[in-house]
């Protein structure tokens, strides 16, 4: 078994994570962490739905931003997917999706202010990059034969519509509806930087210690996501898309002088603005690298590797919860509910909550990342295991897990985990905004000190790091010959 390349790679990752753990900072610094957790649980058990007007507004705005952002992203993404063979488009898409929604929001906040456009673009831009890539992959997987036998002069658009698009349609719809779920989470989280969505209300409820309201908000959010299939119907979709732009709220007006100042002054590196030339720029960059970028990169990498391994372990432990080879009808349903709650909670929100409870350290971040991503991967691996047909005389319990199921799903599991690697790193960087010393922490402090030039360089570094990990993950997947299709992608 040790000869297997997949097993050796996994062990390498585990060893690396253990080494990282020695450098990481895990401590609970609050006075009574479990008491706080108890109060939160009490809030979840006894939610306070009475603050109806602001609950309604929080949900309405969350939905509106998600629909407009994802709709715009999907439309742009589809157009880009048709020209995805161009290296420029591919690189551009890789770049915009390497920057997290919250970073986009932080950038747009500087010149659009609290205008709804900030929130919409923060979702639409990275989503367009993701949609373009996945749509292009889905279109590539369609059978090229029908297009070849079309009569001469059929026209590009109708040819496309009748052959590749119509073949790929169910997959495109599936993926888009999955992304809408992600969009709801992104939209909720945008509240933490000032958009009028769920996160905003959650943060203020926490600040005032209103755990009943926190519970009500969380429960409504779970219900919203769990019932997504019931209220997002193809026929209702045009109505939602038309109504959503009018429900974004008015926010604050855009001050156009801010926009021009941002591009002509704010983001120009200070030494260039002061006329210190290239040598001044070099000292400035060196200083930025040694005091902020490198510590940020170091912490981001540490946290990512630890979170990745814990995520994987959790996923392999939890997927039997929804696998028909291990559960009955009732326990399977309970397992489903548990995994839905885990994956519906955005890691940022989870980290925010845990940080309130345990104080700032890497612990809340690791737990949040592992719970959310572990829930997603466990769900997908569980679904995969349900496609397996076992022998009539297959063993039960632990033997069944270790010999029959785990070896068969391990390859797909690793493919999913490697795909998730980049996402975990993107999230790790962003969790810095909450006060954990990853790259996001330095970006956020630079913005608070009104040093947008520094912030932008740090965001660029984060994006490059993400692209690097994505390339590494793809190499590993092809080296281990892990088949990975767009449709299996979360």
């Amino acid at each position: 078994m040790w000869q297997s390349a997949t097993v050796r790679t996994s062990l390498g990752f585990i060893a690396l994570a253990i080494a990282c753990a020695f450098f990481a900072d895990f401590q609970i610094s609050t006075q009574a962490p479990w008491q706080e957790l108890g109060r939160l649980m009490l809030g979840l058990v006894m939610p306070d739905f009475l603050a109806v007007d602001f609950l309604g507004e929080a949900l309405l705005r969350t939905l509106a931003f998600a629909f407009v952002g994802v709709g715009l992203g999907a439309f742009t993404g589809l157009l880009l997917a048709l020209v995805f063979h161009s290296a420029w488009v591919r690189t551009g898409c890789a770049f915009v999706r390497a920057i997290h929604e919250l970073f986009w929001a932080l950038i747009f906040l500087q010149f659009f202010g609290l205008h709804p456009l900030t929130g919409v673009l923060a979702i639409a831009i990275p989503y367009a990059g993701i949609f373009a890539k996945v749509y292009a992959e889905i279109l590539d997987e369609t059978d090229p034969q029908p297009a070849r036998v079309l009569p001469q002069g059929s026209g590009r658009v109708s040819g496309l519509a009748f052959t590749r698009l119509s073949q790929a349609w169910p997959h495109l719809v599936n993926y888009t509806s999955y992304r809408l779920e992600c969009g709801l989470r992104s939209s909720a989280v945008l509240g933490f930087v000032g958009m009028p969505t769920l996160g905003y209300y959650l943060e203020s409820a926490f600040a005032q210690g209103l755990y009943g309201s926190v519970g009500a908000l969380l429960i409504l959010f779970y219900v919203l996501i769990a019932t997504l299939k019931l209220w997002v119907r193809p026929r209702l979709l045009p109505f939602y898309l038309l109504a959503a732009p009018f429900l974004l709220g008015s926010g604050l007006p855009i001050v156009w002088s801010n926009v021009s100042r941002f591009f002509t002054q704010d983001i120009v590196p200070t030494p260039l603005r002061n006329g210190e030339g290239i040598s001044g720029l070099m000292t400035w960059l060196l200083d930025l690298m040694t005091t902020q970028a490198l510590p940020g990169i170091w912490n981001t990498l540490l946290l990512t590797q630890i979170a990745l391994v814990i995520t994987g372990t959790l996923a392999m432990m939890l997927f039997p919860l929804i696998s028909r080879h291990f559960t009955g009808r009732i326990s399977g349903t309970l397992g489903h509910v548990a995994l839905v709650v885990m994956r519906s909670t955005p890691e940022y929100l989870l980290a925010f909550i845990l940080l309130q409870l345990w104080g700032p350290s890497m612990l809340p971040a690791v737990v949040a990342l592992a719970l959310h991503n572990g829930g997603i991967i466990a769900h997908l691996v569980g679904q995969r295991s349900n496609q397996l047909t076992l022998r009539q005389d297959a063993p039960r319990g632990l033997d069944r897990y270790a010999y029959e199921v785990a070896p068969r799903v391990y390859g797909p599991f690793l493919a999913l985990l490697f795909y998730r690697w980049e996402i975990i790193m993107r999230e790790t960087a962003i969790l810095g905004i909450l006060g954990i010393a990853t790259l996001g922490f330095y970006v956020d402090s630079a913005i608070q000190e009104i040093r947008f030039d520094r912030a932008l360089v740090l965001i660029l570094i984060t994006a490059l790091l993400n692209i690097g990990v994505d390339i590494l993950a793809r190499r590993l997947r092809s080296r281990l010959r892990l088949r990975h299709t767009a449709t299996s992608e979360p």
Binding site: R391, L398, A402
Partner: protein, 217 residues
């Protein structure tokens, strides 16, 4: 062990009856061949037998073999003996096999000419090799009764004979679904012909020739 009997066995997919009602009694020490064209109900009958006689601990060799492609040949064969060991012992074996198990399984692999593939993942083997791994697994499981569905379909010539001999020597009582009529007659004591889910023929092999079985196909 007393005789094995099926009485008025039926099998249905939804509302469509695919097997029976049929009754069949097996004497201990009997090797029975199930013959008939594909779709006649041989696999279904084997599956019903497995369900009915589960408490006798039969070894099963299904048509799709039920091997785990990512595990090595050794581990797949070892799986036949999973129930003989504790869970922790099996987990340790997954990481590092014990020498005595390797010693127990190696001769079997040598006998079936796949010892050189012992540590190769089953996913990398050819169809014939896989079938021999599945047979080795069934033999390693041990017991009194073997239920095998087309155990030599991917093999021909001497290899097929060798495997038939190995399976019938390892198990005193066996039911084997076969499509090779010659092999069926040579290696079994009794032939049961299945047509449209019912028994169309039930004779000792000695009294039959390949010609007699032609009407079944």
């Amino acid at each position: 062990m007393s005789a094995l009997a099926l009485r008025d066995a039926v099998a249905e997919y939804g509302t469509i009856r695919v097997l029976g009602p049929l009754s069949l009694t097996l004497a201990v020490g009997e090797h029975v061949a199930l013959v008939g064209k594909s779709g006649a109900g041989k696999s279904t009958l084997l599956s019903v037998m497995f369900d009915r006689w589960r408490d006798r601990g039969p070894a099963l060799m299904p048509q799709d073999l039920g091997l785990v492609p990512t595990l090595s040949v050794f581990h797949n064969v070892y799986m036949g003996g999973l129930s003989r060991h504790h869970g922790w012992y099996n987990l340790v074996t997954l990481a590092r096999p014990f020498r005595r198990d390797v010693h127990a399984i190696m001769p079997l692999l040598e006998h079936l000419d796949i010892a050189d593939k012992c540590w190769t993942p089953v996913g990398e083997l050819s169809g014939g090799e896989r079938q021999r791994v599945a047979a080795a697994r069934a033999i390693h499981q041990g017991g009194n009764l073997l239920l095998a569905d087309e155990p030599v379909s991917a093999l021909d010539g001497p290899l097929a004979e060798q495997l038939m001999a190995a399976l019938t020597t390892a198990y005193p009582t066996a039911v084997l679904a076969m499509h090779d009529v010659e092999l069926a007659l040579r290696f079994t004591d009794r032939v049961v012909g299945i047509a449209d889910g019912c028994i169309a023929l039930d004779e000792p092999s000695l009294r039959l020739s390949a010609q007699d079985l032609l009407p079944l196909y």
